[in-house]
């Protein structure tokens, strides 16, 4: 079976919102936004709100991490997939489960207690850093960028 056509995977703790729906999706030219998130996969209201945000003609799917791992191999070559996940730990689980993710865009990781701000819109704790390290070791390319028109920020900031 052909490998699923995953254009990009983004870490964003707001999942599908203005930046994702209006900027990233248009720039990538994806026709399917796959939200891989356990909580949202069972929350109809959050799913419906995100469907409203998605541009016309772009399909949305809301799968748990396990379901994403199980089903991704069945994607059609016509499906140009943009995966959105909440945390680096979730992305690591997808990668370890066999989802062929080559590149991860790090968008919004909000500040919280126990986290430190390392880039304009990225705050991390030790667990996040460990997950990013492991992703890199697995050959996944990391990029810190809020929206397509803003410059890429230095990924080494994650590990400093």
């Amino acid at each position: 079976m052909a490998e699923p056509n995953i254009l990009l995977t983004r870490i964003d703790n707001r999942l599908i919102h203005g930046q994702v729906a209006t900027q990233w999706n248009s720039t990538l030219g994806s026709n399917l936004i796959l939200v891989a998130n356990d909580e949202v996969s069972t929350n109809t209201m959050r799913q419906n709100l995100m469907k409203m945000a998605a541009p016309a003609g772009v399909a949305t799917r809301f799968f748990s991490l396990d379901k994403t791992i199980e089903i991704i191999g069945k994607a059609s070559p016509k499906q140009k997939i943009f995966i959105v996940a909440e945390t680096p730990q979730d992305v690591l689980k997808l990668v370890k489960g066999g989802v062929p993710i080559r590149k991860v865009n790090i968008g919004n990781m909000h500040m919280a207690e126990g986290k430190r701000q390392v880039a304009t819109s990225v705050a991390v704790d030790d667990s996040d850093v460990a997950a990013f390290k492991e992703l890199q070791e697995l050959g996944v390319e990391l990029e810190i960028r809020r929206v397509p028109s803003t410059p890429v920020e230095d990924t080494s900031k994650l590990f400093s």
């Binding site: 203005g18 930046q19 109809t44 419906n48 799917r61 809301f62 059609s76 499906q79 929206v147 028109s149």
Partner: protein, 147 residues
């Protein structure tokens, strides 16, 4: 590229610009001209200078996005349009309108058609939503092919 000028009462243009920066990032050929307080006296001249400079840069034309039909930013823009060709004025500017137009202007050469698209986008974005519209059961994926 078709140039964009954003202007309005008080901090309308500053505020909308700050929202655009957050959603879409910094944009080329995009300038704001606030109409407020201490700058009110020179507003007409400032707006004319901004439009003229943008028009010199942008061969295909310029769209001026104003907040309110009939307000001073609108009136001043219309008077400037008397002297500047390929200048379109759009009123009732809102965030979704400008977000869509920032994409639509890529490769666009017809400033009038682009201004008409702004009106459609801005009107379509005004909706009423109720809780009922987000509480219903989610549709299952129906694609026969794929996931």
């Amino acid at each position: 590229m078709i140039g964009f000028i954003l202007t309005g009462h008080g901090q309308f243009s500053n505020g909308l610009k700050s929202a655009l920066d957050m959603v879409a990032g910094d944009q080329p050929a995009f300038q704001i001209v606030p109409f407020e307080g201490s700058e009110a006296a020179t507003y007409g001249d400032d707006l004319r200078a901004a439009i003229t400079a943008m028009r010199a840069e942008c061969e295909e034309g310029v769209i001026v996005f104003v907040d309110l039909l009939g307000g001073t930013p609108f009136n001043q823009s219309m008077m400037i349009a008397n002297d500047v060709d390929k200048l379109e004025i759009v009123t009732g500017t809102n965030l979704p309108m400008v977000i869509e137009l920032l994409f639509a202007r890529n490769g666009a050469t017809d400033v009038t058609a682009l201004a008409e698209q702004a009106v459609t986008a801005g009107k379509d974005a005004v909706t009423r939503q109720s809780l009922a519209s987000v509480m219903g059961a989610a549709d299952e994926a129906t694609d026969e092919d794929g996931i």
